[in-house]
Structure formats: structure tokens, C-alpha cells
């Protein structure tokens, strides 16, 4: 045996190979050393890891602090606004009560007092500043004001024409009560909307009070309660003030704001949370492909040729798909997207998705290797994989019973939009589209040799990056616990070839599938 080994070792070919390759060197990329260094010195990674952690912590801290600060400002603004509003309302009610105070209790003053506060305003004031009203009402013993409000209002409309309320312009125009002979106030063009969330209620109040005071100061003199000199000014203020008749022209949004801030004194909903949701989905899809043969550069230039080219066929004008046996197969995609409602109908989404694609080629297993050619230039421009060993024969006309699974594993970032076509709160119908840039990080491919006679397994042919586009339509059903279920068909198409551009065949994958998803609303 030793002799035999020596015989083999001492053969000419071995000697030649040893001699020829003894000094063969290849220079590794620097990346290898860095990886090696990190493996050998894991502790040295800690400074960089620590710095990274510190940076992340700092960013998170700043984010949290800023967020809290913003929330604080919002809350305090809301509180101030609400407090101002309540105060203003209380004062207004106080004034309303005050104006009903005249001792002679004339019809005119009653009318004025009651008509100064329209339906909605009274209701609003009673709820938000009830104690103030109650106090004023009790102290001035005019508890019948509220009861008689509707009556007096109808009187105004029917006969006395004392007060005409221009509900559109929100202004007050007050005439003279001829029946009672009382001078009535007129507040010209004081257009106010209490309901507007952007209006400073304190400012409004002061404006109103100023106007009221200026106009009423003379006219209401005779109806005022005589006051002691010490409190004259305050009493005058009280008696001269009058509630505004605020037109009932609030929009739905205004009402909602009032409900949120003033009526219930609730903080407004977080707009992001109310509009954002996360969708988890899975799709089972039937995968197909289009395989085309490039018509250019089939024969490399002389300078690039290193291997035999005798079996490199020129581009065949016939459809390559007719020369192979292939079949669709089942693929899958799994992903999660963050969704955000841009408007009532539009939803933007972005996320992360894993795609597993598959289709089948049929070949004949040879049981031995055959050297064949593949016109591929490697990425570094130096190594040409023009010769490859194959054990699978492509022979559509003979027995092709060996299944070759061509698979890819892709990781992509789908970005897109959904459009609500129709639906109610519970059930909605959407159509959507996405662009999905991503990478192919694994799989298995059986590429055709240049003469189309063999299949070559070579993962290095994969193009690293690719882009898919998807279109879908689906129904979304919202359950009661903040979760929606979705289901619908989708189609996905791969824009670029699975293979590197240097390979003389181009393969584009597409699939049709059923996508089911679960949407969790924040």
C-alpha cells in the first residue's frame, strides 16, 4: 500500500501540480482580518458596543424627555384653556344672573336676562360651571330664569321683538322693549365663536365685556341695583355685563373638541395612536417565472475567454421556455407592516417581509458529472465560471423525472398605500399596492448551461438586491377588541432578474396568492 501511495505521489502529474501550484497565492480582503480580529478579541468590541449603547440611550432619553415635555405642554394648555373657559363661563353666568337682578323685575329685564343665553349656551354653562350659576341665582333669587327662558324666548320671537338674534353672524342686536319701556342694549357686531378651540376664551370674554360695558353702561343705569360706593365699580361691572348670544354654528369638529376638552375635561386622543396600527400577515402563493434568453454578448470577447466555448450556443430566437420542462410551485410570504391612516380612505404602510419563492424544473439525473459551460463573469471581473460540472440533463424530449426546486429566500421592505374602496366601521374593502426593495439571502437555483443541455446548481448566480411590486385587494373586518382581520388575493412581480446581469438568462418571478392578516390597532 505504501508503495502504491508512493507511486501515486511520485507520478508526473502530482509533481507537476505541486510545482505549478506551490506558490499560488490569493490575497484575502481586509474584511477577513477584521472579522477574525473581532472573533479573537471579543472584549475589544465592548468600547464600540458601549458607545453605541450610550448613543442609543441618549437618543431614547431625549425622545422620551421631548415627548413628555410636549405632552406636558399640551396638558397644561388644555388645563389652562379649560380653566379659562370655565372661569369665563362662570363669569358670564354670573353676569347673566346679575342682569336679571333688577328689583323692579320688569318683563324687559326678564326677557333680556333669559334671552341673553340661548339653549345650548345655558346647557353648556350649567354643566361646566354649575356652582357659579347656582350661587348667583340663589343670591339674587331669580331661580325662575331657567324655567322662563323658553317662554321669554318665544315671547321675543312672537311679540315683543326685543331681542333679535342673528344666529348666522353670531352677533347680537338688541332693540327697545316698547312694552316695558326699558332701554335695551345693543352689542354691534360682536362675532364670537366660543366653541372654536383656537380662541382664547379669556380674550373673548374681555372683548365681550368691554363691548357690553361700553354699550350697556348708560342704558342699564336705571335698571341697576343701587350699590354701595365701595363696591360700585364691581357692582356696575356685574350689572352692566350681559351674556352673549352665541350662535349655534359649531361644526362637528368644534363640538368634538368641546366634548373632549371642556365638557368632560378629557385630554384629546393621541392622534398617532388613533391612526396607526400594525398588520401581521401571511400569504400562500403559487409561484411562476418568466425565463428569457438575452440576445447579446453570448460569446465573450477573446480577452475574457478562459475556457472552452465550443458548446456555447448563440442566442436562440425560440422561446427558451419551450426547451425546458417547468412547473409552478407554492411559495410563502410572511411579514409585518406599520400602517398609518393618512385620511379617511388612504393608509400608508411600511414594514418587513420574508418571501420564500419556489418553482420546479424537471431534469434527468445523469449519475455522473459532465463538464459544461456557462457564460457568466464573476463579480470581481477576474474569475470566469465558464466551465461547470453538472449532473442534471435538460432533455424535454426524454425522461425528465428529477424535480429541481428553484428557491429563493428574500427579505424585503414593503412600502405602499391602501385605498379604502368602500365599507363601514366594521367591514371595509381596500385595494393596495406596494414596492418591495429587498435582498436575496439564500436559496437554490438550477441554471441552464449555455447550450441548454444541462442544469447547473450555482447560488453565486443570485443577484443580491432586487425589487418586487405587489398589488392586492382585501376585506377588513374589525372585531370589538381593537383587532381587524383581513383576507384577499394578491399578486407580486419581481422587477429584476433573479440572476446577476452577467448570466445570459433572465428570470423574473411572479406569484398569485391569498393573503390573510391580523391588524392590531393601538
Amino acid at each position: 500500500m505504501e508503495m502504491e501511495d508512493n507511486f501515486y505521489k511520485e507520478d508526473e502529474l502530482s509533481s507537476f501540480l505541486n510545482e505549478a501550484t506551490s506558490d499560488f497565492k490569493m490575497y484575502p480582503s481586509r474584511r477577513i482580518w477584521y472579522s477574525l480580529y473581532n472573533d479573537l478579541h471579543p472584549s475589544r468590541k465592548w468600547p464600540s458596543v458601549a458607545v453605541c449603547l450610550l448613543l442609543i440611550s441618549a437618543i431614547l432619553y431625549l425622545g422620551v424627555v421631548n415627548n413628555n415635555s410636549i405632552n406636558k405642554n399640551i396638558n397644561s394648555a388644555a388645563k389652562v384653556s379649560t380653566a379659562d373657559q370655565n372661569k369665563s363661563i362662570a363669569e358670564n353666568n354670573s353676569t347673566s344672573a346679575s342682569i336679571k337682578e333688577p328689583s323692579d323685575n320688569t318683563e324687559a329685564s326678564k326677557l333680556l336676562a333669559s334671552s341673553a343665553v340661548p339653549d345650548n349656551t345655558v346647557l353648556y354653562n350649567q354643566q361646566s360651571s354649575g356652582p357659579a350659576i347656582e350661587k348667583d341665582i340663589q343670591s339674587n333669587d331669580i331661580s325662575s330664569v331657567a324655567k322662563t327662558r323658553r317662554e321669554t324666548y318665544s315671547e321675543i320671537n312672537t311679540g315683543s321683538e326685543l331681542v333679535a338674534t342673528d344666529s348666522k353672524s353670531s352677533s347680537i342686536s338688541v332693540g327697545k322693549n316698547e312694552q316695558a319701556g326699558t332701554d335695551i342694549i345693543a352689542v354691534p357686531n360682536t362675532e364670537i365663536s366660543l366653541a372654536s378651540p383656537n380662541v382664547d376664551l379669556g380674550f373673548i370674554e374681555s372683548q365681550v365685556n368691554n363691548n357690553s360695558t361700553e354699550v350697556l353702561s348708560d342704558n342699564l343705569e336705571e335698571n341697576s341695583i343701587p350699590a354701595s360706593p365701595n363696591t360700585l365699580e364691581e357692582e356696575n361691572k356685574k350689572t352692566e355685563k350681559i351674556d352673549l348670544v352665541v350662535a349655534n354654528n359649531k361644526s362637528d369638529r368644534d363640538k368634538e373638541w368641546i366634548d373632549n376638552f371642556a365638557f368632560y375635561n378629557k385630554p384629546k386622543k393621541n392622534s398617532f395612536n388613533s391612526k396607526a396600527s400594525v398588520k401581521y400577515y401571511i400569504t400562500a402563493a403559487e409561484g411562476f417565472r418568466t425565463l428569457t434568453e438575452k440576445q447579446v454578448d453570448i460569446l465573450p470577447t477573446t480577452a475574457r475567454i478562459q475556457g472552452p466555448i465550443s458548446n456555447i450556443a448563440a442566442a436562440d430566437p425560440l422561446n427558451i421556455n419551450d426547451k425546458i420542462t417547468q412547473k409552478s410551485s407554492i411559495g410563502i410570504e410572511v411579514g409585518a407592516t406599520l400602517q398609518y391612516e393618512l385620511s379617511e380612505r388612504w393608509v400608508a404602510k411600511a414594514g418587513l417581509q420574508y418571501n420564500y419563492t419556489n418553482y420546479i424544473s424537471y431534469a434527468t439525473y445523469l449519475g455522473h458529472s459532465v463538464i459544461t459551460n456557462m457564460t457568466v463573469v464573476s463579480a470581481d471581473g477576474n474569475d470566469y465560471y465558464q466551465e461547470k460540472a453538472s449532473i442534471y440533463l435538460n432533455s424535454p424530449n426524454s425522461r425528465n423525472d428529477n424535480v429541481l426546486n428553484n428557491t429563493t429566500n428574500q427579505l424585503s421592505v414593503p412600502i405602499g398605500l391602501d385605498y379604502k374602496i368602500a365599507g363601514s366601521n366594521k367591514l371595509k374593502w381596500y385595494a393596495g399596492a406596494t414596492v418591495q426593495p429587498g435582498i436575496i439571502f439564500g436559496g437554490n437555483t438550477y441554471a441552464l448551461s449555455s447550450d441548454k443541455q444541462y442544469y447547473i446548481s450555482d447560488q453565486s448566480l443570485f443577484r443580491k438586491g432586487n425589487v418586487n411590486v405587489g398589488a392586492e385587494t382585501f376585506l377588513s373586518y374589525r372585531t370589538g377588541n381593537g383587532i381587524s382581520l383581513t383576507a384577499g388575493p394578491q399578486v407580486r412581480y419581481q422587477l429584476f432578474s433573479t440572476y446577476k446581469s452577467s448570466y445570459n438568462y433572465s428570470e423574473k418571478l411572479y406569484n398569485f396568492g391569498l393573503k390573510v392578516g391580523l391588524v392590531k390597532h393601538f
Partner: protein
């Protein structure tokens, strides 16, 4: 840096010494890996894994042979271990089909280089290639190869015979070698380096 300093420093986990040792041996070792690997990327992975073993086992080096030989041995074993993780590798080593190989005609290479010889070796099916690399270039016996690849010694021997025939065929067709009147191989060995 001398080999002794590199060795001593690397054992002490000194980064500079390790880098020097790596820089000295990595080009040749990548060439070794490349002969076993499917492509350059795989070869670099083998190299990296191999050097991790080199550095972690360096204290076991007894100065009984050359450091390069010791490093090479570890790298080769690493390559084989990585290859063996591939299911198809075992099948390839077991296949006996040398006579069925068809080697196409070749272009005449303008300049013969060591790399071309290596590329010719890499054209061999992986089973042939591995056995040929181990036996002819790395100095393993068929018994060792059989143990290393989990195949019989006879399988290794027949694989090598077929690999040799096939490779010779390729080299002749590529005009890298030719047989003279005495049927002796006359390689252009002087320019093969």
C-alpha cells in the same frame, strides 16, 4: 517580525503578532482554500474559520515541523469539515463516473499561470477535486483521506485515479501540459508559477 516572535505574541493573544502571522500565511492559505471551495467567497469563509482554529490552537504547536505546514494542515482540515457539512459532498465523493466525463476542446491560453492550473483543478467534480487536492497536493494518504471523508480507502484511490485522468485530459486539451514521444508529461512548469 520573526516567526518565533509572531508565534510567541500570537499565543499571548497579541493582536499585532496575530496580524503579522495572518498576513504572512493568509495568501497561500487562501489559495489552498480556493482549491477546495466552490467560489472565492466560500474560500474566504474557510480561511477565516481556519485561522480562528489556528490562533486558538497555536499553543499546541510543538515546533516539530514548519509553522506553515502546521497552519496548512489545520486549514485543510477546516476546509474538509466545511465541505462535509454539505450533503451533496458525500454523494459526490462516492460517485464513480470518471469514464463518463466529457471534456470539451479548449482555447489555447495565452499565458500559463499557476492560477490556470488551479482553475483546472477546480473544474473537477467536488469529490474528485477534494481527493486530488488532499492526496496530490496536501500529502494525505488514501487511508487518511478515507478517514477524513468517511469513505473507504479504495474509494479514495479510485476517485484519485479518475480525477487524475480527467485533470490530465483537461490540462492537455488546454495545452498546459503535453506528452512527449516517451509518453512522459512535459509540463510548461517553468512558466507555471
Amino acid at each position: 517580525m520573526t516567526e518565533e516572535l509572531m508565534l510567541a505574541g500570537s499565543i499571548r493573544n497579541n493582536a499585532a503578532a496575530q496580524e503579522a502571522l495572518y498576513n504572512r500565511f493568509s495568501p497561500k492559505m487562501l489559495g489552498v482554500c480556493y482549491r477546495f471551495a466552490k467560489n472565492r467567497e466560500d474560500a474566504e469563509d474557510m480561511l477565516q474559520e481556519g485561522f480562528i482554529k489556528v490562533f486558538t490552537q497555536l499553543h499546541q504547536f510543538r515546533n516539530e515541523g514548519s509553522l506553515e505546514g502546521w497552519v496548512r494542515r489545520i486549514i485543510v482540515h477546516t476546509c474538509i469539515n466545511i465541505l462535509k457539512k454539505n450533503k451533496k459532498f458525500k454523494e459526490s465523493v462516492d460517485l464513480i463516473h470518471a469514464h463518463a466525463i466529457h471534456v470539451k476542446e479548449d482555447m489555447i491560453p495565452a499565458i500559463m499561470q499557476a492560477k490556470q492550473v488551479v482553475e483546472c483543478i477546480r473544474l473537477l467534480p467536488i469529490g474528485y477535486r477534494t481527493v486530488l487536492n488532499l492526496f496530490a497536493l496536501e500529502g494525505f494518504s488514501h487511508k487518511e483521506i478515507g478517514e477524513l471523508l468517511d469513505v473507504g480507502e479504495s474509494t479514495s484511490r479510485s476517485q484519485y485515479t479518475r480525477a487524475k485522468v480527467m485533470l490530465e485530459d483537461i490540462l492537455v486539451q488546454r495545452k498546459i501540459i503535453f506528452r512527449n514521444n516517451n509518453n512522459k508529461i512535459a509540463g510548461l512548469s517553468s512558466s507555471a508559477k
